[in-house]
Amino acid sequence: MDNKAITDKIETINNQISTAKNEARSLYTEIESVKTKVRDGGLKENSYKIKSIPNHSINPKLYNTLEGHQSKISQIQWNKESDKILSGSQDGYMIIWDAITGYKKNIIELDNQWLLTCSLSPSGEMIASGGLDNNLTIYKIGDQTTNRPNVNYFNSSVQYIFKGHRAYISDSKFLNSHQIITSSGDMKNMMWDLHKGDKVREFIDHTGDILCLSTFNNENNIFMSGSCDGYVKMWDVRQKSSVQNLFISNYDINTLKVFPQGKSFVSGSDDGIIRFFDLRSDCELSQYSITSEFKNFSSEPSFGWKQDNLSSRNSLNSVSSMDSINILSVDFSRSGRLIYSCYSDFGCLIWDSLKGEIIGAIGGHLNKVNQVSVAPDGIGVCTASWDSTIKVWAP
């Protein structure tokens, strides 16, 4: 009798599932048709009247090579005033550099050497680091105003060790002076509060490792996260679930950056394509693919960079299957016209975001360039590399 009842139940639930599936299918077709209606030309189609930026015109000058780390640089970040750079390396140290003079201002010895992310608070007083130990460690740094060298190089102390993630911490960003967001391989984002000294909440919706975060310039309550599940999700800290979901591609999304205006973003993924999405239209506006760009050049490529910049590659005419075209990092220039992008095997290339053309490159590193960051004032650009140096560029 019991068995019969359960079989009946299973049958009913199977029917319910198939109805729900049908409903889902029709809903998705409807969404797709709404999206098709909205798609009436992206950035390239609408910018044909605008003059292109000449190939040789973007040549930022190298002002400083910051040497001091002994291993790969994991992450870099400018401070709000654009005069200092925080860098975290897997040699077990974080360093704060004076971007203008190139001197070290502060050295922070890490509790855990395997750092993947470091982040500087808006006031510049607090620093967060996270990595393979699953913990977020918050350091308070001391006074940097003194001119005497060697006095307070190591003036920092551990304030908190936030435990909660069950896998590596991939990225961290301060939302404001006391709240910080982390993303992790345990498929969760978490928000931590420095005043409370504890976790505030979790953000659960991704179905794969979360690899990157991006915050908005003028909004303290929203942020975005990109994951191995191919989705980018927008979150509002005041709302329970994600506010907007965008499917990007079937590949890992390694990096995200919100457009300076705040209503769109670019993503960089393992398929080597940078995609420009708009949050208002809820769809893609443009794609930047290195392979199709190279195909456009049948004989001699005419980019505005020296060939030897691109890690001793002899030919740029084609991208062979041996080349790794993963995108590791992206950033916008101040107006959003330029997209700086780091590729595994092609160094740091500069795209015109409107026209979709490569218009330059930043070279000079001896190994993979894994991070690029534009200063908030829009003048300085820094690139970090596996060769353990950071280079500061400016016009």
Binding site: S57, R280, R337
Partner: protein, 89 residues
């Protein structure tokens, strides 16, 4: 027992699909502006905002801090090279 587990799994599956449908309905209700309109707003933003990293479009009228520091470093070097009249041999 096995049947009960199977039922439980199916129940979770149904709940997942239902949640997905609720999200899809919400997404359907969302107002979307045409991509041409959002593209134009982005293009205007790019063209209207100063960006000294594109020197062909925006020429910085002043020296930036990096250039100023280079000038300072060079003048300091020159001063150190010039022994002046106070050198004691």
């Amino acid at each position: 027992m096995e049947e009960e587990i199977k039922y439980e799994i199916l129940r979770i599956k149904l709940r997942r699909i239902q949640e997905l449908n609720i999200k899809a309905k919400k997404s359907l209700l969302k107002e979307r502006i045409p991509t041409s309109q959002s593209s134009l707003s982005i293009i205007n933003y790019c063209l209207e905002n100063i960006d000294y990293l594109i020197p062909v479009l925006w020429k910085n009228p002043q020296m930036n801090n990096y250039q100023k520091y280079q000038v300072y470093k060079n003048t300091r070097k020159l001063k150190m090279k010039d022994p002046g009249c106070c050198t004691i041999v």
